[in-house]
């Protein structure tokens, strides 16, 4: 038998799939897996004959593809029954289990697209059961092919399929359809539409579900699918709402899905793809084949709009738009929107919604039921399939298990079902109320560390401990030690002296003391009077000090210098007598300290912290940091930082010893390290920025006494140096603490050598006992795991407010419908898949590159992990599509080329800086922050110089490079493609790269994976790849 036609054109959509098939190392990613229940009275031979007939009647099922000399498809000759790719499996028991096993096997087996048929089948047969499992490659089979397949199979089983008659008709119809597709795709309007969609996507933020630092840029495409069948009642409610709204099911489901995606990506917009049936000829409706164009929908989500308005406006408009653009092939949009195919993910969208064809079969059909299965893979981060079945709507959610771990996918499924139910029940529901609070229990889950305090105020607590350990050393400076008994006497005497100067409960007393002993005595004396201390750093500008003193209504200070109010040295305040009876009973509402923190409006604000949060913190810390009488805590932090409280007060509450850092200078980290060793310190609390210098200075040293290294202040990132230090010191734990001044420390994440997972971006962890951490997402609800929101802190931790600033206080300290007061941090966080809080930053270090949100810190961390790099700062430069990152590094013996490769290996392409430069110093602003504006000016100058240099370097003596350059010159119609600048900049994209790599393979006998090429798409890098593989 001879085929009437032997080769067919390849559509752009098919070509797109060929590219993916070649670039993705998962051969089964595009398997379509179908389970058909058959009339069990049909024999194995009948089923074989029927399947053979279907293969011969459906030309697409006999297609195979080749890439060279140009991509094409050809048609295999008809099959004999023996050749049909079918295996019969007689089953005597456990039919369901056997079916599962065979499905899994079929799902896992990839296809060689060069060999027809791109289909395999297994027929399982028991007495009263008969199932035909089919795995078929997507390039020849779209969702709409299922009905023609089932119709033909049914007819063949009934003996009604006239193969000889339909074969030439169908082959002609296929050719005609493919021609029509190719012709339609070539129209000018299609190019215009693709350009318009591309331009729009470039301006749009990509929807990234479960956004987090170190989110994998590539995955192994392992997926899991969950079925969410809507009960007949729920389905009926959905149908009623669809009718009432006068929208299509597609619009209805897009409306709910877009809100879910926006919530779970932490944005007010959803970008997702949807496959649209693109069959053009009438005859194609009888054919299996791949006639689908997948197009992006960009849906704005206004949370205050009702579901009905959302569906009728934003969504309906978008659905209308994609229907008009149905002829536009996906790959064409890619070319216009994102020529750099980042990672191995879909370059345009990470989520998909597919309206599936109905799975009903007519009564009396030998095919009793039809069901599609997942293949254990995921092409998208999230895929939603919506199928009308005879039993109601079937929703299926497929997720990439690496990108969206199971708890995250479960949360998405919850949101989706809630949203659908609410929308169906009442379409006038505002979008934000389609959702509900995630578990309150989760927000109120704490780490459980707590040692019961003996009383509700710090002064009472410390006095009791001091009375029980009179001879033990409470505070230790070089050359001086103060026992608890001496401390108690000093505190009483100084308190009496302050009382004599008129200090009353509630009054604010400034501290300018310079030694640790004086500071501790003064602090505790102030607390004895139920007054509040205010650390005053005399190095601050006089104007700022004056503001602090005035705002806090501070009229007296202890120490020296000139803080602008009467100041008395500790020694001059000692007076005999007891003040306790004069101050009345202590209260947990009594203030403890005022600490000023920078305010975005220019003036610092003074946080008034009182006993209740600090007693809670102390009770937690004693248990969490194993503090006892043997504790020796280094006092490192300046008094004006609330960390100093954690070094001093809990240590005294534990009966331990506070050890002065001095004589080591705070900035001289090696001296601090020596001091830690010399004084047998057990607990150290460092700013994050000091951790790496600390472990570097500790190289080669052993710390016998050290038990805890605490850090806080900014996002903690760890590298191998830090990990090595803790690996060498298995008894030492690293504790990352988080907490704004307004609440003091509230969450912690603990790491030690026992933990196998030391993420470079360390989480801020879980709340400490008594603290509630609520993550409130964009919908105003408690966020489920994986959803970004603002962190609101409540329970025992919030301070009383900003001293003498009721308005600013009311703005940030807000009522909690579930408790008392919450402090709004303004920090963006999420609960990760394991229920641990991850800090994502504030908006000011967040930039957008080609629509992707980029945390500059993430780029910087990767750069800093490169050998020799001491510091890295990234800035975003340029506008629109030209916006890119520039990296500045401070490094010893910098190898920028190696750094660039490392960045390209570790980061998605949009995060890889286009330029990297070395600097001797990172410029800082007046207040010590990185001066990004100055770096941007430097970037402009340096990039200009680099361009001028490159202009003269487009020729090469290397014959391999010259050959590749000529190849690209031909493909791109470019006179002289640059050697080491990205070919993407001059028009290379995945399709012409496929051709280029095929030609390279022909010419040089080496197969260069397309992804390797895209990692560094330059002539020079391609030459290196070819050489490597020769």
């Amino acid at each position: 038998m001879t085929a009437t036609i032997s080769s067919t054109p390849v559509t752009e959509s098919q070509l797109g799939l060929l590219v993916v098939h070649r670039s993705v190392p998962v051969g089964n990613l595009y398997n379509v897996l179908v389970e058909l229940q058959l009339d069990p009275t049909r024999s194995a031979a009948e089923v074989r004959a029927a399947l053979t007939a279907v293969l011969n009647a459906q030309p697409a099922l006999r297609l195979a593809f080749r890439e060279l000399p140009e991509p094409a498809a050809w048609l295999r000759e008809p099959f004999t029954p023996e050749e049909a790719p079918l295996r019969h499996v007689p089953v005597d028991r456990d039919f369901a289990e056997r079916t599962r096993r065979e499905l899994a096997e079929l799902a896992a087996a990839g296809f060689d697209l060069g060999e027809a048929p791109l289909l395999r089948a297994v027929h399982l047969h028991a007495g009263d059961e008969s199932v035909l499992l089919i795995s078929v490659h997507h390039t020849v089979f779209d969702g709409y092919s299922l009905q023609p397949l089932v119709r033909d199979l049914d007819a063949a089983l009934a003996g009604d399929l006239d193969v000889a008659g339909v074969r030439p008709v169908r082959e002609r119809a296929l050719l005609r359809e493919l021609d029509a597709q190719v012709k339609a795709g070539a129209a000018d309007t299609v190019e215009e539409q693709a350009a318009a969609i591309g331009a729009r996507l470039r301006e749009t933020t990509a929807t990234v579900l479960y956004p987090r630092p170190n989110r994998p840029a590539t995955t192994d495409f392992r997926g899991a699918r969950r079925e969410l069948p809507l009960s007949p009642e729920r389905s009926a409610a959905v149908d009623r709402a669809i009718t009432a709204l006068g929208v299509t099911p597609f619009t209805f489901f897009c409306s709910a899905y877009s809100a879910v995606l926006a919530r779970h990506s932490g944005t007010d917009q959803a970008v997702f793809g949807s496959p649209l049936m693109a069959r053009r000829t009438v005859g194609s409706h009888d054919l299996c084949g791949f006639f689908v164009n997948t197009l992006p929908l960009v849906v704005d989500v206004d949370w205050d709009l009702s579901f009905a308005e959302h569906a009728r406006t934003a969504v309906d408009r978008e659905v209308d738009g994609v229907r008009r653009a149905v002829t536009v092939p996906f790959s064409r949009v890619v070319r216009h929107a994102a020529p750099d195919r980042g990672g191995n993910r879909n370059p345009l969208f990470s989520a998909m919604l597919a309206m599936q064809d109905s799975t009903g079969t007519p009564p009396g059909s030998a095919v009793r039921s039809v069901r599609e299965h997942g293949t254990g893979t995921a092409k998208f981060d999230l895929w939603l399939g919506v199928t009308p079945t005879p039993d109601g709507w079937l929703l299926e959610l497929e997720h990439d298990v690496a990108l969206l771990p199971e708890p995250i996918a479960a949360a998405v499924a919850d949101s989706l079902l809630h949203a659908l139910d609410r929308a169906a029940a009442d379409p006038s529901t505002p979008l934000r109320d389609l959702f509900v609070d995630a578990s309150v229990e989760e927000a109120h889950r704490a780490d459980g560390f707590y040692r019961e305090p003996p009383c509700a105020d710090l002064d009472g607590w410390l006095a009791r401990v001091a009375a029980g350990r009179p001879a033990a050393v409470a505070v230790e400076e070089e050359g001086r030690a103060l026992t608890y008994a001496e401390l108690a006497r000093e505190v009483a005497a100084v308190a009496a002296g302050l009382r004599g100067h008129g200090v009353e409960p509630g009054q604010v007393v400034g501290l300018t003391t310079t030694t640790l002993v004086d500071t501790v005595v003064a602090m505790l004396a102030v607390l004895r009077l139920r007054a509040t201390f205010l650390p005053l750093d005399l190095a601050l500008p006089a104007e700022r000090l004056a503001h602090m003193v005035g705002k806090a209504d501070c009229r007296i200070a202890v120490g020296g210098g000139d803080p602008g109010v009467p100041v008395f040295p500790v020694a001059g305040l000692r007076v005999g007598g007891d003040t306790a009876h004069e101050t009345g009973g202590p209260s947990e509402e009594d203030g403890v300290y005022v600490m000023f923190t920078s305010g975005s409006t220019g003036n610092p604000k003074g946080v008034l912290m009182h006993n209740r949060p600090l007693v809670n913190l102390t009770a937690w810390q004693l248990a969490a940091l194993d503090m006892d009488e043997g504790t020796r805590f280094l006092q490192y932090a300046p008094l004006g930082f609330d960390v100093s409280f954690q070094e001093i007060v809990p240590t005294l509450a534990a009966g331990g010893t506070v050890v002065s850092r001095e004589p080591a200078d705070r900035r001289d980290v090696p001296a601090v390290v020596r001091r830690v060793l010399d004084t047998a310190v057990t607990h150290v609390y460092l700013p994050v920025a000091a951790l790496r210098p600390f472990v570097q200075a500790a190289e080669g040293l052993r710390f016998e006494h050290l038990r805890y290294v605490c850090v806080s202040g900014e996002q903690l990132t760890v590298n191998d140096e830090v990990r090595d230090f803790f690996a060498r010191h298995p008894g030492v734990r690293l504790v990352n603490l988080y907490g704004p001044t307004e609440t003091h420390a509230v969450t912690t994440h603990r790491l030690s050598s026992e933990d196998s997972n030391w993420p470079s971006h360390v989480p801020i962890g879980v709340p400490l006992t008594g603290v509630t951490a609520q993550v409130v997402d964009r919908t105003g609800h408690l966020a489920p795991r994986g959803v970004v929101g603002e962190l609101l802190l409540g329970g025992a931790c919030p301070a009383r407010g900003y001293i003498n600033e009721p308005e600013r206080t009311a703005e940030r300290f807000v009522p909690d419908p579930r408790g008392t007061t919450r402090y709004r941090t303004g920090d963006q966080v999420l609960w990760d898949a394991d229920g641990v809080l991850v800090f994502l930053g504030r908006d000011d270090h967040q930039v957008k590159i080609r629509g992707y949100r980029v945390e500059l810190g993430e780029v910087e961390v990767v750069a800093q992990q490169h050998p020799g790099v001491r510091r890295a700062v990234a800035v975003a430069r340029g506008d629109g599509a030209d916006r890119h990152l520039v990296l500045f590094v401070q490094a010893d013996a910098p190898d920028l080329e190696a750094l660039r490769r490392r960045l390209a290996d570790a980061l998605p392409p949009y995060m890889v800086p286009l330029h990297a430069f070395t600097v001797d110093e990172v410029p800082l602003t007046g207040n010590g922050k990185v001066d990004r504006a100055a770096l941007l000016r430097q970037a402009d100058a340096l990039v200009g110089e680099q361009r001028a240099d490159e202009a003269g370097r487009t020729t090469t003596d290397d014959p391999l490079e010259a050959g590749l350059q000529a190849l690209w010159a031909e493909l791109l119609d470019h006179p002289a493609p640059p050697l080491d600048r990205s070919l993407l900049e001059i028009g290379a994209h995945s399709l012409n790269a496929l051709v280029a790599l095929s030609r390279v393979e022909q010419e040089h006998g080496v197969r260069v994976p397309i992804l390797d090429f895209f990692r560094d798409p330059t002539v020079a890098a391609l030459a290196a790849l070819v050489r490597e593989r020769r």
């Binding site: 119809a173 005609r176 929208v247 299509t248 099911p249 000829t281 009438v282 005859g283 149905v326 064809d357």
Partner: protein, 79 residues
């Protein structure tokens, strides 16, 4: 009405009825009677005898009511 055209109209209605189970008039919107784009194509495929006939899918986006759809289908059939 020309009997041939009348037959067409009857055919169109009969075919639509195979896919749509609720009562409809020319003023009914396609969405409210559940006629989605896939179904509209099936109606056309069932009515047009010439397999080579090409349909401009983008045109479907303009069809909002059954009346518009009926007129458009008639155009496809008699073209």
């Amino acid at each position: 009405m020309d009997p041939a055209v009348r037959t067409f109209v009857d055919d169109i209605d009969a075919t639509i009825r195979r896919f749509v189970r609720v009562p409809f008039t020319d003023a009914s919107t396609l969405a409210e009677i559940g006629l989605d784009s896939l179904t509209t194509l099936r109606v056309v495929a069932a009515l047009v005898p010439d397999g080579d006939r090409e349909i401009d899918l983008a045109e479907l986006a303009d069809l909002k009511t059954l009346g518009q759809f009926r007129a458009w289908v008639a155009g496809q059939v008699t073209r």
